[in-house]
């Protein structure tokens, strides 16, 4: 089996539109969650979201922009960043040995929402001619492939909140097996339409607004946690055959060494300790890592009652006594839940934490819940901590649990 390097990172996120900005804000614990002020917000119980400061005009010519839902815009710009960061020369590569693997939970949902407004609310048949092209879930991946002429597999994974952990893991498997040399992998999501927010709200999964400060409304692992806050954005990584990366002198952000995917197959929303634990174990096993070797876990940590208790129990089941020693970061507290892009964003944050030797904080955690009794790095980052191996958890409605394990490039290569 081949080793797989991460040689490029691209992010468009509520915490910033570059890896450096994302990491600085995450380490500082700055929350991007805000009260949103659209006219329809008065029909939401808690009009909260983590929005991206982004204008498509700055990145696309108008005729092309007209064909791109916001989710595709995010994906393409993040992919450009990642490919630029990796200094990949795709036109001169064997483009059939390059693949696109993208996760999204809701695809071009804003386009669909707009079309429904026109059809049902305005009783007009004048929906946009590009509604299908903009709304289809594989549009973000397709546009990336078109922009770079990538002729290998162009695949879209939709497993709700684990979509982009799955896309990265599946890409990793293809490179590891020798089927591909390079993969552009990650996720994108743009769910912040009225329809999108309302649909999540009526499921009773969203946080109520903290009256003292809306930015602190998402409180993973807290006694007073009330749910998650939706966010938007994209995170893309370039995965590459290790030897190829070394030969071309690429900068390696980390080595992806493990991927576990296990399905609950029990309930459409309710997570299970067994399923989450099995996915963590599977990732550790394929990575040939002892549980004790994990230095930091980026938790799924949604801030919902169900997830945080179950995830804590699952971590205890896998790590035993080590569970109380391993620092756990729940960064959704400040960047929100990017649904299909969350797994990729948190994987990127895990890599950045490892590169900088900084344990990212779980913000807004004043009093932990009784059954959430691990070290969640509450409210303040820890610097100068030696982090060699990280785990990133993503668990989803539908029961698809996906876990990624990565280690520092320096650990194996002896280089920074």
């Amino acid at each position: 089996m081949r080793r797989v390097a991460v040689t490029g990172i691209g992010v468009i996120s509520p915490l910033g539109s570059s890896a450096a900005e994302l990491f600085a804000n995450a380490a500082a614990g700055r929350s991007a969650i805000r009260r949103i002020e659209e006219t329809w917000c008065k029909r939401l119980v808690s009009p909260l979201a983590a929005c991206v400061n982004f204008s498509g005009d700055e990145h696309f010519a108008a005729p092309k922009l007209r064909m791109l839902d916001r989710v595709s815009q995010f994906a393409i710009v993040a992919a450009r960043q990642a490919i630029g960061d990796a200094r990949l020369d795709i036109p001169n590569a064997d483009r059939q040995r390059v693949g696109i693997f993208l996760g999204t939970g809701m695809g071009g949902s804003q386009t669909t929402d707009d079309a429904y407004q026109t059809l049902y609310a305005k009783q007009s048949n004048r929906i946009k001619p590009f509604t299908v092209l903009m709304g289809m879930a594989n549009a973000p991946a397709a546009w990336i492939g078109i922009e770079y002429g990538v002729t290998g597999p162009n695949l879209t994974y939709s497993t709700a909140c684990s979509s982009s952990a799955v896309s990265i893991g599946e890409a990793w498997m293809r490179i590891r097996a020798g089927d591909l040399d390079v993969a552009i992998a990650g996720g994108a999501e743009a769910p912040l339409s009225f329809g999108g927010l309302k649909a999540w709200e009526v499921l009773h999964t969203l946080a109520t607004e903290d009256p003292s400060d809306a930015a602190t409304s998402c409180k993973p692992f807290s006694k007073n946690r009330s749910g998650m806050v939706l966010g938007e954005g994209a995170a893309i990584v370039v995965l590459e055959d290790w030897e190829r990366a070394i030969q071309r002198g690429a900068i390696i952000h980390g080595e992806l060494i493990g991927y576990g995917i296990v399905t609950d197959a029990s309930h459409i929303t309710r997570p299970t300790v067994a399923g989450q634990a099995a996915a963590m174990r599977a990732a550790l096993q394929v990575a040939a890592c002892a549980p004790a070797s994990i230095d930091n876990i980026n938790a799924h940590g949604t801030g919902t009652q169900a997830n945080d208790s179950v995830e804590t129990a699952a971590i205890k089941q896998v790590f035993g006594e080590d569970a109380f020693r391993i620092p756990i970061s729940a960064t959704k507290a400040i960047h929100g839940h990017l649904l299909g892009a969350s797994g990729a964003l948190e994987f990127v944050l895990s890599l950045l934490a490892m590169q900088h030797d900084v344990l990212l904080p779980t913000m807004h955690l004043d009093i932990a819940a009784a059954d959430c009794d691990l070290d969640y790095v509450p409210n303040c980052a820890r610097h100068n901590v030696n982090i060699n191996t990280v785990m990133s958890n993503s668990f989803a409605f539908g029961g698809t649990n996906a876990v990624l394990v990565a280690r520092s490039a320096a650990q194996r290569t002896g280089t920074a």
């Binding site: 108008a62 005729p63 007209r66 946009k128 001619p129 590009f130 092209l133």
Partner: protein, 98 residues
């Protein structure tokens, strides 16, 4: 306002085309509107000129072709209330996106 001016306005507003680049004989593809983009341009034309185009998309390689086509439609509509747009001579065969 002429048909050309009204079409130019659509191109400037929706496609951010520099007005100075818009000519009657220049290819629309050169302005970033390919055969797929044409589907949307025809949608805007319907709104602007209050005409109903045939269901099958039409190929209008240049703005001049579009002007002639629209003028033909408008003339047909004004000529007889019973005449339908389908009776207007179609320009080139349509391109259907896959």
């Amino acid at each position: 306002m002429t048909t050309f001016e009204r079409l130019s306005k659509i191109l400037v507003k929706n496609y951010k085309v520099d007005a100075e680049r818009i000519t009657l004989d220049g290819p629309l593809e050169g302005l970033g509107i390919d055969s797929l983009g044409m589907a949307e341009l025809l949608f805007f034309i319907e709104d602007e000129f209050k005409v109903q185009l045939p269901f099958d998309p039409v190929a209008l390689p240049t703005l001049g072709d579009a002007v002639s086509y629209i003028d033909g439609l408008l003339a047909a509509q004004q000529g007889t209330e019973t005449q339908t747009t389908a009776d207007v001579p179609a320009p080139a065969p349509p391109h259907r996106p896959a």
